[in-house]
Symmetry: C2
Subunit: 366 residues, 2 copies
């Protein structure tokens, strides 16, 4: 009853080598349940699983077991020429909060002029692609909705990829972005902000009814998280046969505001894990679902992709898990000191200060 | 910064063999961080770690690696004579919800008349020992407050055991029982029900202040759980040097009402784990902190204790982790079928229908 019951082989995956626990059904190869590496890791301490994952990537590339230190990007042209698609994380790469990072519009223009495909990926599930599109527009960037892959979209895309029945419903712990994407994909849903004010007032014999047609619970960041939602989601996952537990991401922190780091979607997912004892299917980074999805959609192989991000344990690991080239930018949360610390074993292929370095590192000579 | 920083060797423990993760400092032997076995396990599927823990108990006893099937209790006298203290779980053993289980008062009287020490242990942290005392009284049972060990008390007792400084504060995610026990133990606290109605309303630049004197965050079952509490607790654990993360328990389900199973303290603990990426120190079952505490307090060795419970993965594991004899009663959540299922590898020493079987299985011949 408490087993993982994925209804298709199209499972979100990472290259995390952790074996499934005894309460999980093995996932069909080559896909595996994801999120382990993130859960075990810290924000500063390097996740053990990630280290192993990195080793497996290196081993696959025929390199030594120890990851070589990342090289400072010297020849942007060579990197750009070697790939077809750039996937950009947004916060810390394209913008910081509501402020565009220097030189971004020109850099994107340069890459487009060289015929590169651009994709923007974010674990933030509070907005839909359309809402993200408006954010890009506000910042003066011309980005097509189809180029944006938020984890809200990923949740809906995942359900589509497994032919989730249209007569089933999705219970949502999360904000508006998830609801909008589910609606666009034609799925029935309940929960979300509507349940934000509901309370459990203790009365003898109190019993919570739940909808037996719920076939998936999608959990993302939710600042209106409460016990009602925990219990409702738990009942669906535990009592509805085959009900999926899908996490948009397991990020420890998110940037609700720029003033500090806020507890992220990992908190909401952790709560449901604590009450269901079931591992979620993660569709956001570092699971490679989004990468596999877009590789399939655009017909490209992941070795022709360069993942550009500011976080080692989500962005760079995501790229490495997917078999992409990886570029760390120091314009976000990771400092050069953290990258080069002996405690860090997630090494991107290259690092540079910010993406506008593409403009000066030979690449401007189009 | 995100390391486990226990300030004393008196760490809550289980015999879980899981090594600490890379982000945790090793705990001083023989104590280990606890909760792993519970977290990995399911309610029905047997936790892998538990299985190993059981094996280690058996190995220590010189038995074969496979746990022998539990024996039906035939000779209550022999069991009673072989131990000095009985630890009873409450729900499913003494009562069910608000109803006393048949024959309990007579059974407790019998044991007292034989000079046995009786202790009542519960993972429920919503009540203090005093409040539990009133519950026993209401049910017509004469039990001393000192005989009651709820996880709310365990949290306060743990802080006392490590000489938690009186000028530091405790942030509480949980209900009134924890506050009352902290108050009785003379600790300063904040949070609890007071924060139940607080919301995070998004404004640009929003910043949550937190008290830098908080040296421990205690997390228990909390039906008024919300994002404010998650963020406050996370800030304390992540940003206050040495701040402890203490869980009263990690139970997947609790019995808020008898009408159904409700998401338990494991949900609140899981949320904080998801946002801090730090493992909690667990003071409730199956961690043996309470057992070690009372063995020390009463000067008894745990081999002279019999743990009586209705749950395999908390009560029986708790007893086995502590080196006690174990008796499963079938008057609660575990059926004979579950006990004897090939999937179950947590085998108590004995099982019986209910504790009043002590009255009929020879034991009545005092």
């Amino acid at each position: 009853m408490l087993q993982v019951r994925a209804s298709s082989a199209f499972l979100p995956s990472t290259s995390s080598p952790s074996p499934p626990s005894s309460s999980q059904a093995p996932a069909p190869a080559p896909f595996r349940l994801s999120g382990k590496s993130q859960r075990r890791g810290g924000l500063i301490a390097v996740p053990q699983a990630s280290r192993v994952a990195r080793r497996s990537v290196m081993a696959a590339a025929g390199a030594a077991a120890a990851a070589p230190a990342a090289a400072k990007l010297e020849d942007a042209d060579a990197l750009i020429d070697s790939v077809e698609t750039f996937i950009f994380d947004c916060d810390g790469v394209i913008w910081k909060g509501d402020k565009l990072i220097d030189g971004v519009p020109e850099t994107l223009d340069l890459l487009r002029s060289k015929g590169k495909r651009l994709v923007f990926v974010t674990n933030n599930s509070t907005k839909s692609r359309k809402q993200y599109g408006r954010k890009f527009e506000t910042l003066g960037l011309s980005v097509d909705e189809e180029e944006i892959f938020a984890s809200s979209f990923a949740a809906a895309a995942y359900l589509q990829s497994i032919d989730f029945p249209k007569d089933k419903k999705v219970y949502v712990i999360g904000e508006e972005g998830i609801l909008k994407e589910l609606e666009l994909a034609g799925f029935q849903y309940l929960g979300g902000p509507t349940d934000g004010d509901k309370k459990i007032e203790l009365k003898p014999g109190l019993y919570m009814e739940h909808d037996e047609d719920v076939g998936a619970v999608v959990v993302g960041f939710d600042r209106y998280f409460n016990y009602y939602k925990v219990q409702y989601g738990t009942l669906c996952i535990r009592e509805n046969p085959g009900c999926l537990f899908i996490a948009t991401n397991r990020d420890a922190v998110t940037h609700l505001t720029d003033a500090q780091e806020w507890a992220g979607g990992g908190a909401m997912v952790g709560a449901l894990l604590g009450s269901t004892k079931q591992e979620p299917l993660v569709v956001g980074k570092p699971s490679t679902f989004m990468m596999d999805y877009l590789a399939k959609k655009f017909g490209i192989t992941t070795s022709q992709i360069c993942m550009v991000g500011d976080r080692l344990d989500t962005d760079i690991l995501f790229g490495q898990n997917g078999g992409c080239k990886t570029l760390l930018v120091l314009s976000g949360v990771t400092s050069l000191q953290t990258l080069q610390s002996p405690d860090n074993s997630i090494q991107p292929d290259f690092y540079t200060n910010q993406i506008s370095d593409f403009l000066t590192l030979k690449a401007a000579t189009v």
